[in-house]
């Protein structure tokens, strides 16, 4: 039976009462700042909902430790009142039943705003 490999997912939550739209740039880089890969995602998030972007393998892949990976950077337009966009990276595991599971790989300090 085929197994869906784990995926790294950018999860964005819009806590506000207004829709948010914008663009996220996710970079994979070395500790010295050299960008190894990047990905740009156009995102629309309805009020009070979340959006997800599965990261491409070139961005999600890890090199040998010590390593630092993807830093998502918002470049989109924040609509008036949209002040609580939260951003974290999680590893998406294979689907289970009706839902999906997301795991954040904190061992490598992926999370960032």
């Amino acid at each position: 039976m085929p197994v869906t490999p784990d995926q790294l997912v950018l999860v964005m939550v819009n806590d506000t009462r207004q829709a948010w739209e914008g663009q996220w740039r996710v970079e994979r880089h070395r500790l010295d700042g050299t960008v190894l890969a990047d990905q740009i995602a156009q995102v629309s998030i309805p009020a009070g909902r979340q959006a997800q972007v599965v990261l491409e393998a070139s961005v999600a892949a890890f090199g040998a430790p010590p390593r630092r990976s993807s830093w998502p950077v918002p470049t989109g337009r924040v609509l008036p009142g949209s002040s609580t966009i939260r951003l974290r990276l999680w590893t998406k595991l294979s689907d289970r039943g009706a839902g999906c599971e997301y795991r954040r790989d904190d061992q490598y300090g992926l999370a960032s705003q």
């Binding site: 999860v11 939550v13 806590d15 506000t16 009462r17 009070g48 909902r49 979340q50 918002p74 924040v78 949209s82 002040s83 609580t84 966009i85 939260r86 951003l87 974290r88 999680w90 009706a98 839902g99 599971e101 997301y102 795991r103 954040r104 904190d106 061992q107 999370a111 705003q113």
Partner: protein, 688 residues
């Protein structure tokens, strides 16, 4: 204040305690002893153990005061809080007795007062002994440590896994003589609504007491010029934010409650933080008329009440969906995500709390980017100061009734006390727009269903067999699922109510099921490590967390082990969690120290064999050479663990609708924030 049984105290204190020590009111016995220099700081070192005798003492408080009749019709002795079981005498004659620290007591003492000097005596029964005594009468109801569940007194005052055991007695709220005539406002419940057109609806229920008793005008007993002899006029005014509305009614003979309704067009809505502003309106209630101009517009009211309200609606969605059942709170019809903390008493000695301390804690909450605080059920219905601050800051309040982690007797005596307590607190807190959730009990459903030793302890062969064919003593569910819902239907149907938390809203399901209703997550701290948060899919996690020691300066102020060590004598007095230091060490592995969470050692050999030596949950690399490094690592772990948990749950948005981690208050007083607070600013933080 004097000890009636000084023989339970250390020998060198007995004479002094028998002769009396100056007491302050509001206050409590332990703080009076501390102020008198008779005991050391209860938080310091291992003083807690040495001071257990204080809870065994019967304390008598005596007050002499001058009183002169001002011509009022009634002179009531009012005690806003006595902790807990007490008998009162005024001038050597009995006044009454108290059984409940969470209520106000009022006695008509007209016939006991005398002009000039008066003597009031309040005699408290030892709370520790009284709890045990009642247990011999009512039977054993499961609990932890002392039988706190036999008394209506803060459970955590008898010690908790985060706090010291310092149950004592005292007059913890103001007490005095209330002189009044004609009519008195007993309670005001200003309940808000919002109609489809955005108009505000304020329904004000006013409970009144007549000086002459139920249904009688005070003038029946003592004629006073200008006092009305029939109906009592009652007026309500709403102001603020350009509103100016009022309504008038009349309390008819034989009635004790009057309802007034005001409509406020284009009302400004109250929103939680992050969702909008928090405008408050002032409500003034005036009842009765006195003076020579009674009946005219210039006449003064006999009784007034002032409070604030905010216009908003509250609802919760628990309808089954593809993931289970949510617990999603909506304010003004908009689903809101609750971010917050649990509130435990900010001091083991509640009478040391004041508005400044509530203000500082509210600032911590706001700075952490939270929008909810849950008042946990093992402490107190807090001061109005806290709820006022929450109203102003837009912080939603989840209020537990004071039942926690135990089974509770439902005998007639306790039932009447609980009902009186609930009526008072439901009414007192009803004006606050911040109050959105009432919860019947903390963990009492999951205790009954899941905790060892609970159900079997309640088996009663003499009771009528239940649906499973055996007799069982009532264990508190009568309060949560019967009494409280009836009281809310009568007194305040505008809030969310759930009988217990955690609880699932599907029958035949574990109360602590993560995908149904609310959940508490503690196995992560106790036995799994913080990555196990991601094994859950919480719909609303209203309790979870990770321990850490307090700020370094706080810790070293009260722990004097030399050298300082996690397993030092005094450190272990303050480490209230079972095997707490072992849990801290295991949790660090693979994050801050080598090894795996489940590693064990035999004779120092990691995952070795029994023949290697004695078993230990610790492995050699758990040991920190520098205690300051250990302390910092513990705090870092706490911050990271809670951040990991909250961020994970946030990634489940729509499935998850709320998180509330504990306040992390250590067993030592300190207002110093921990790294976890700064971490929360980030993981609950605002961008843009």
């Amino acid at each position: 204040m004097a000890a009636l049984n000084p023989q339970v105290a250390p020998e060198d204190l007995r004479d002094r305690l028998a002769n009396g020590v100056e007491a302050r009111v509001p206050g409590e016995a332990t703080i009076d002893l501390l102020r008198a220099g008779l005991i050391g700081d209860p938080y310091d070192g291992d003083n807690e153990q040495a001071q257990q005798w204080i809870g065994d003492v019967d304390w008598r408080f005596t007050c002499q005061f001058d009183w002169h009749d001002d011509g009022s019709q009634r002179h009531d002795l009012v005690a806003y809080g006595l902790d807990t079981v007490a008998a009162l005498e005024l001038n050597g004659r009995p006044v009454g007795s108290t059984q409940n620290a969470y209520r106000t007591y009022r006695w008509d003492v007209r016939n006991l007062l005398k002009d000039g000097g008066n003597t009031l005596v309040v005699s408290f029964t030892s709370p520790v002994r009284e709890g045990e005594r009642r247990q011999t009468i009512l039977g054993y109801y499961p609990y932890d440590s002392h039988p706190f569940n036999q008394l209506r007194k803060a459970a955590s005052s008898f010690g908790w896994d985060w706090g010291i055991d310092v149950a004592n007695a005292g007059i913890w709220q103001p007490i005095g003589i209330d002189s009044w005539s004609g009519v008195r406002i007993a309670q005001v419940r200003p309940l808000v609504g919002v109609d489809d057109q955005g108009g505000g609806l304020l329904t004000v229920d006013v409970d009144l007491e007549r000086a002459g008793g139920r249904g009688r005008s005070g003038t029946d007993e003592k004629a006073r010029p200008g006092t009305q002899s029939g109906g009592i006029p009652v007026r309500v005014h709403l102001g603020g934010n350009s509103a100016d509305a009022q309504a008038c009614s009349c309390l008819n003979a034989g009635a004790d409650t009057v309802r007034l309704v005001l409509r406020v067009p284009d009302v400004q809505l109250w929103w939680p933080r992050g969702y909008g502003d928090h405008p408050l309106y002032t409500v003034d209630v005036m009842a009765g008329q006195e003076g020579a101009n009674a009946g005219s517009d210039e006449s003064r009211p006999q009784a007034v009440w002032t409070g604030r309200v905010g216009f908003r609606t509250v609802s919760v969605d628990t309808a089954a969906d593809e993931d289970g059942r949510p617990f999603r709170i909506s304010v003004n019809g908009v689903p809101v995500h609750a971010h917050g903390y649990n509130w435990i008493p900010d001091d083991a000695f509640i009478t040391r709390m004041n508005k400044d301390r509530y203000q500082r804690r509210m600032e911590d909450l706001v700075e952490s980017n939270s929008n909810m605080v849950r008042i946990w059920g093992g402490g107190y219905y807090e001061s109005d100061d806290l709820y006022d601050l929450a109203d102003e800051e837009g912080v939603m309040v989840w209020q537990d009734f004071m039942f926690a982690c135990a089974a509770y007797p439902e005998d007639p005596g306790n039932w009447s006390e609980v009902e009186a307590e609930a009526r008072e607190q439901i009414g007192r807190l009803s004006p606050h727009p911040s109050l959105v959730v009432w919860n019947g009990s903390n963990e009492n459903y999951t205790a009954y269903a899941d905790w060892g030793g609970f159900k079997n302890a309640l088996v009663d062969p003499a009771a009528v067999p239940n649906m499973y064919g055996y007799g069982e003593r009532p264990w508190g569910d009568g309060y949560y699922s019967d009494l409280f819902p009836r009281l809310f239907a009568q007194l305040d149907p505008t809030r969310i109510y759930l009988p217990s938390s955690p609880m699932s809203f599907t029958k035949y399901t574990s109360p602590n099921k993560d995908n149904d209703g609310t959940v508490h997550i503690w196995d992560v701290w106790n036995s799994k490590g913080y990555k196990a948060y991601r094994d859950y899919r919480p719909r609303f996690a209203d309790e979870f967390g990770y321990q850490a020691p307090p700020a370094w300066s706080t810790l070293t102020r009260v722990v004097h082990d030399s050298p300082l060590d996690p397993f030092g004598t005094q450190m272990l007095v303050h480490q209230k969690a079972i095997d707490g230091n072992i849990k801290l060490s295991r949790g660090m592995r693979s994050h801050l120290t080598p090894g795996d969470f489940y590693d064990i050692s035999y004779g120092g050999v990691v995952n070795g064999r029994r023949s290697d030596g004695p078993h230990s949950w610790l492995i050699p690399s758990d040991r920190w050479e520098d205690i300051e490094d250990w302390h910092w690592a513990c705090q870092l772990q706490q911050a990271q663990a809670v951040r990991f948990g909250v961020e994970y749950m946030r990634s489940l948005e729509q499935v998850n609708a709320g998180t509330a981690s504990p306040s992390g208050s250590p067993p030592a007083t300190s207002s110093l924030p921990l790294p976890s607070l700064y971490s929360a600013q980030g993981f609950r933080g605002l961008l843009g």
